[in-house]
Symmetry: C2
Subunit: 283 residues, 2 copies
């Protein structure tokens, strides 16, 4: 029985910036339309690729409002809302739900390292209780190489047990093939598991995943969409090859530089520190 | 020539919480008075030990205001203001300066890992430019084991070159004795270098450090103060021995539990997730 709701190829959009490094809504809205046209099933606003944590809570709220005001469908959005402080996470999550976007992607608090599974369960529980809204559709964000905190089966079980259908899924951006497959096999029927790289997509789909949320969908969504629609070995190899080019350099500046080249708009090359821009016409 | 301004034993205070896990100003203000009485030269509000990143910008502002309203001298305070987003860091820093506390301790943006020195310089520069206040006295916060970002001599040189006397010092909470000594030797005459552990204090003072900012000053400031005042080998050994007990368990819950025992006030045992409380009467 396939109970998947959030499926396919989702793009964690880049966040274009103006010369003052403020979000450029004109470029962003044009990019989102283009991404859907390229075959993306939906968009994640403010993931790692979108430089989420380089923005304040107010900035993040205003960007979501600007995207929706431009007519983008909330049904095509997952909003990244996970911050270090429970207050910020709850505030952004409430705002997303009130804006019609109940699907949120939530980093665990990511300052302290080596925290226990119980601590992660406590942190997520406190946030979900503060939101207190049955409409919530919560996605765990597993990216231990940046957050320093793993999302283990035990953490997922505890939250599903406690919050039921409010727990909707998992984005697994770890790079550990073995544990990705194990999580797909264990939770793929119950939750929407989306892998963070098309490199793992064919195998993940075989193990029960619903799709992927991949940074490189910002530049080559069609090849990922083709793999999702017909997950052959040849399609996997084409997608992997396309991704390889972006894994040799800092990925976010490289994706922005590529978008600057594609659109002939240098504005796209800006990144917020601590990232450093790649020259858009370079390489 | 000793040009040191911020010297001695500074305590990065714990942040006591009530049952709702909101800051308990009554307990905090009593603790700060006690810490000075124990021999601390000053207090760091909202360092790692104070669970800084588990609080929102508004919560952090209110706690500082509550401490000052209770009559605590701004001259005895360094305020932790470093967040992932430049907007939050600048906002907290402006608020601290406007409150009479120009000394701020600033984490680098800590979500992205493996960022370049240039990216760290860019991030700090953008924050300092946004603050735009010559009264600023900026302390680098080196704690790569949690932030994932190192503060190298090149980063310090670049910021000193650019911002002159606004760059006041460095808290070095790394655990790498060799690089700590190298930074003390290189910058100890020009900046106030405070080490993050009394374990390194005697040697650091010999290398030019101004003092320390140590979590365990929350429980045994007198033994650290004795070491600072008379840095003999015997004093170092006593301080190291006192610290050892707190390095075997998650330190922040252990320090809060110890304070709960000392004050016979269980309120002290609360921590914000993802930390997990140690039972105050245990162990």
């Amino acid at each position: 029985m396939n109970t998947h709701i959030t499926t396919g190829v989702w793009c964690p959009t880049l966040t274009p910036l103006d010369a003052a490094l403020d979000p450029d809504l004109r470029l962003l809205n044009a990019h989102l339309v283009w991404l859907l046209d390229q075959g993306c099933h939906g968009i994640v606003l403010f993931g790692t690729t979108g430089e989420a944590n380089s923005f304040t809570v107010d900035e993040r709220r205003r960007v979501l409002e600007g995207v929706l005001a431009a007519g983008f469908s909330p049904d095509r959005l997952i909003v990244g809302t996970g911050c270090c402080s429970a207050g910020d996470t709850a505030s952004l999550t409430k705002h997303a739900i009130a804006s019609g976007c109940p699907r949120v992607l939530v980093l665990p608090p990511f300052y302290y390292k080596g925290v226990s599974g119980q601590g992660t369960v406590d942190a997520y529980s406190r946030e979900i209780e503060a939101v207190a809204d049955a409409r919530l559709r919560f996605f765990f964000y597993r990216i231990p190489q940046l957050s320093g905190v793993d999302i283990t089966p035990g953490v997922i079980d505890a939250l599903v047990e406690r919050f039921g259908s409010q727990i909707a899924g998992l984005k697994d951006s770890s790079t550990d093939r073995e544990s990705i497959e194990a999580l797909c096999l264990r939770f793929g029927k119950r939750l929407d598991v989306l892998v963070g790289s098309e490199r793992f997509l064919k195998r993940a789909l075989e193990c029960g995943a619903s799709g992927c949320i991949s940074a490189t969908a910002n530049v080559h969504a069609p090849v990922i969409r083709a793999l999702f629609d017909d997950p052959t070995q040849a399609a996997q190899e084409r997608a992997t090859l396309a991704r390889d080019a972006y894994e040799t350099a800092p990925m976010i500046p490289a994706l922005k530089a590529a978008t600057a080249r594609r659109t002939s708009d240098d504005g796209w090359s800006h990144v917020r520190p601590p990232l450093v821009a790649t020259h858009p016409l370079g390489g």
